[in-house]
């Protein structure tokens, strides 16, 4: 009797514990891809494409400018510093995009394979519109990531052919053949264009709320404006739009037409100019250039008014805003409680022309090397803190002279400048970092600015049709540059005599346009790849200015130790070992 009771007890105990984890594992919510998705579950497949958005390489500031002749960093452990001073290698590549971009492409391919399985909304028309929009986003993003892959990894293989990266158009899984060869640059470019063509067929040019059914593009069929606005309305304006796809096309076309790739890329200057012009036309030509676009990062009232993903005049595509002071904490001079990280070089300072529009070395410029910041391009004081400039909430005078007496002076402490200059661009001077009253300000990261598009046009049109050629458009490279210089406030007193003097000289114009790009887009991560794209010298020593007893002298701050083959980035070393079909670029 007693035995029976005990056995019974044992059985009850085992059954009550349910045998979970003993015989079979306790259930876990480990979600899998499905054969179909309900509208209530549509977040799950859409969440896949967000892996594309979160991986956009320019979502945050990289400051790879400190590996160029534009700047150095005082952070001795910076990987960019190490790269610029001789440590760049296929297995030590701070500008690698391979893993990040291909991971994004994997998720985008997964998304594309799910889209048709999803009931995006109960309303089948809305569901169809979602289906189109998300396909468009996916194709557009895939093109974006292939563009960044080409920028960072395309190059000439051992056999002398211009190679791109493997083209992967389906999601990959365990058991697949990963040993894929690199497609040529030309094939990659064609793939980018094909994806952008598809994106254009699915996406509206802009996400905005329509007020009348007649405004709905034909490609969406019979839908009401309410149905349209729900899917493509203004609340979606932070997503990849048709206009963004056009900008990606222009960027890719410029890359392909550039000297480093033009011989085998299949790209041409004229098509790059046409691609840029199609956006400029939408923007209203040269006159559409945002008047306050130069200081987009500091236009306080404009930034305060940002809402619902809407773009300021200068911005084509941007990230969400956030309240922060990280940029300032990194880059303010030490006396304003910053770390003084990015130090612009004298090379860059010298690239700013005089206020009269002449380069400082040109005759008639009026440049005085003993008073070098006098009568200079107003952008210089917008972007760079020079000795004696004022900065911060209290307009503190920043003394960068070696004998300036504060920690802001040249090489005083580990947070002092190494060049005699501090960064001012991108930073909001109304951020206070004092420990007793630390404040933040609203920041956002532009993903594409219209200024970049104008500069793409200027560069490509000058090469294709000469400084004043229009190629059938209503403006020339000269017109664009003139407008940019006017916006910057140079040459306004003398009718921009310098620009007028070179407007028939394509070569001088090229130098001017490249310099304009250098100045307008400085510290925004362009210079590193522009130098390579142009086949420009990579090893200009980064210099600075030492001021003692009011005497200015130029100092060498940091050598640039790039080899010739470093015009093109490497394929990751680990991948070339794993996959024999992956040819390394020459020299790496």
């Amino acid at each position: 009797m007693k035995n029976k009771f005990l056995i019974y007890l044992v059985l009850v105990a085992i059954l009550s514990s349910g045998c979970k984890d003993l015989i079979t594992p306790q259930i876990e919510n480990n979600r899998q891809l499905q054969e179909s998705y309900n509208p209530s579950d549509a977040k799950f497949p859409y969440g896949l494409i967000l892996n594309g958005y979160t991986r956009i390489p320019i979502n945050s500031w990289s400051f790879n400018d400190v590996a160029t002749d534009d700047a150095v960093t005082n952070d001795k452990s910076s990987s960019f510093l190490k790269m610029a001073t001789g440590q760049w290698a296929a297995n030590n590549n701070p500008v690698e995009q391979w893993s990040n971009c291909f991971a994004a492409i994997q998720y985008i391919n997964l998304t594309l394979e799910q889209i048709d399985k999803v009931n995006w909304a109960v309303d089948t028309t809305v569901s169809r519109l979602f289906n189109m929009r998300i396909k468009g986003e996916a194709y557009g993003l895939r093109a974006l990531f292939y563009y960044y892959l080409l920028q960072a990894h395309a190059g000439y293989g051992q056999d002398g052919s211009l190679l791109g990266v493997p083209i992967v158009l389906h999601s990959q899984a365990v058991g697949d053949d990963f040993n894929l060869p690199r497609s040529t640059f030309k094939q990659c470019l064609q793939q980018i264009e094909a994806d952008l063509d598809l994106a254009a067929t699915y996406l509206p040019v802009d996400y905005k709320d329509l007020t009348d059914n007649s405004q709905i593009p034909d490609k969406y069929g019979t839908v009401s404006k309410e149905q349209y606005n729900r899917v493509m309305g203004k609340t979606m304006s932070g997503l990849l739009s048709g206009r963004v796809a056009m900008a990606i096309r222009a960027k890719a076309a410029l890359l392909a037409a550039s000297p480093a790739y033009s011989s085998a890329s299949g790209g041409s200057w004229a098509s790059a100019a046409d691609d840029a012009a199609s956006i400029i036309d939408l923007k209203g030509g040269v006159a559409g250039m945002a008047a306050n676009g130069l200081t987009w990062y500091g236009n306080a009232s404009e930034i305060a008014a940002l809402a619902e993903g809407q773009n300021p005049d200068e911005i084509l595509w941007r990230s969400n805003y956030s309240e922060s002071n990280d940029l300032e904490a990194d880059n303010f001079p030490p006396s304003l409680n910053g770390k003084g990280r990015v130090n612009p070089t004298k090379n860059l300072v010298d690239a700013f022309p005089m206020a009269n529009g002449y380069p400082i070395g040109a005759t008639g410029s009026g440049y005085d090397s003993n008073n070098p910041y006098n009568s200079r391009d107003p952008r210089l004081s917008d972007f760079i803190l020079v000795n004696g400039d004022k900065a911060g909430v209290n307009n503190t005078v920043i003394k960068t002279a070696a004998d300036g007496g504060t920690n802001d002076g040249l090489d005083r402490t580990e947070t002092s400048t190494r060049t005699g200059y501090y960064l001012k661009k991108l930073l909001r001077q109304d951020v206070n970092l004092s420990s007793t009253s630390t404040t933040t300000q609203r920041h956002y990261k532009p993903l594409i600015r219209y200024t970049e598009i104008y500069l793409i046009y200027a560069e490509a049109a000058n090469e294709a049709w000469g400084p004043t050629g229009t190629g059938g458009h209503s403006y020339s490279a000269y017109d664009v540059i003139k407008a940019l210089r006017q916006r910057a406030g140079i040459g306004t007193q003398n009718g921009d005599a310098y620009l007028e003097s070179i407007k028939t000289d394509k070569d001088k114009m090229r130098i001017l346009i490249r310099n304009a790009r250098r100045l307008e887009l400085c510290f925004e991560g362009f210079r590193f790849w522009d130098l390579r794209r142009w086949k420009a010298p990579l090893n200009e020593t980064a210099t600075g200015t030492s001021i003692k007893n009011n005497q200015y002298s130029t100092i060498n701050v940091e050598n640039r130790l790039y080899q010739d083959y470093m015009e093109y980035g490497p394929i990751p070393y680990s991948e070339t070992l794993k996959f024999s079909n992956l040819v390394q670029n020459k020299g790496w």
Binding site: A13, Q26, P45, N51, Q87, S574
Partner: protein, 583 residues
Amino acid sequence: MGTIYAGGYNKYISRQFQFSSGIDADLKDILPGLKFKSNFAVDYATAYSLSYNYDYATYEPIWNSYSGVDLISSLNKYGNDATSGTQNASNSWYRQTIAFYGLFSYDQTFGNQNNISAELVANGYQQSESQIYHRVSNANLGLHLGYNYDEKYYVDFNGAYVHSAKLPEKHREALSPTLSLAWRISKEKFMHSGTGFINDLKLTASAGILNTDLDISDYYIYQGYYTVNGSWYGWKDGVGFQATESRRGDNPDMRFPKRKEINLGFEGLFFNSSLQLNGHFFRSSSEGNIIQAASLFPSYFTSYWPVSSFIPYVNYDNDLRTGIDFGMDYHKMLGKLDVNIGLNGTYYNTKATQRAEVYEDDYQYRQGKNIDGIWGLQNLGFFESQQDIDNSPTQSFGEVHPGDIKYKDQNGDGVINSQDEVFLGKGGWFGAPFTIGMNLTLTYKKLTLFLYAIGRYGAYGIKNNSYYWVYGDGKYSEVVRNRWTEATKATATYPRLTTGSSDNNFRTSDFWMYKTDRFDLSKIQLNYDMTDLLRRKQFVKALSVYISGSNILTLAGQNDVLELNIGSAPQTRFYNIGVQANF
């Protein structure tokens, strides 16, 4: 102090409940020697805290000097005295363990010499704990069959049939057999007659395959999954949601990692049992250890941020450990001196027999090398001059100057980089390759001396902490005194100093390597029993005085490195004088 006096109170309550019940049945009616045993146990532990948390005021005196006398002029009050009257219950916790086993055993001797034993066990237990979703579980069936003839020849078979819910459905069970043989050779006639000094000697051999899920860290790791709690992305200034991220790939073929073991050994007593010796050889190969083999997949299959992985867990790595251990114990009275010497030691070697890895150069493969290998560059001294730098392979760890460490180009490609890293030595991370322990007890009348020493040999370390790697604005230790300068280039033992960082010098290489061989006198104690001296004082039952020390002495080539702690409390030697009394 204030917290104790006025901060309220906190009551910690812990309850334990233990229940155990079993059946013991002698089934000799069915078969002589057959028994059944079963046990079922529940342990339940629960704990929580009940507290009243009171605020209290603190006062800061403000001192002022009045005509040369310091007096308190006022008090600053911080906080208020307040009793909330609220009882807080916190830290509640429970743990429940349910264990069950059932056992049939059989033990019988036939004809005085044939001993047969057998056991069949079913065993399971499960432990659940608060706030932990999965329970710790274990279920297996075991079978033991044993036979010995006259305690001379032994044959044992043990088999365990294990079940694990951590594995995919068709691979949840596995059989782990072990076979052991033993021969008490001292019972053989030829040993008896041949030698007189052997009291007992037994030779043993065993081999087995063990399946275990102990190293499977979690449930469902065979199953890939997506999470909807990925990185957040917003597109409307604040509106957005979290990405759907894959966190691992599928592997429906996951199996138990196996351990294949072979043991050979002997144990014996000699010379009137005053000397005891034993020794074993072991070889243990663990196969199919579960890893995420990133090198079998493209790099983009995994990323740290955003957190994403498509890589499955697979049974891949194999490790081999072989070695011997031995022990000796000798006990003898030499006149009035009682001597007891013990010695034991282990020597083992490890080898990674299978690894998922891809390297260009053969010497870089971890497979075939020790598991605890230190990998790094080989140094060739310092660069003597700019000319020396120009004539040497390019070093890709930043600009080099005379006085920087020069490395060997292993693959001859003219560039020194991480591909030139080779196996430098054993790190001894799982214990030094050769360990020896010794103890000695000498007793003479009332005086006892005890010594314990331990020796560790065969491993290496890297001098890579901030004491040895000094640069920039760090603190400079005495090691830089003999740094490289133009004047000291012939005798320098430390690279040139730099105000920057030096990735070229401060990286793992044999320049920084040292032997961690050491022999430690861990414990020494001298004891004197004084009970007899105090015999008249009856209330003291026992009294002894002792002097002892711990970590007294380290004999090593690199004492200064081994006995140095940076960034933590220093190592100590410990001396003790004591009296021990029983009343």
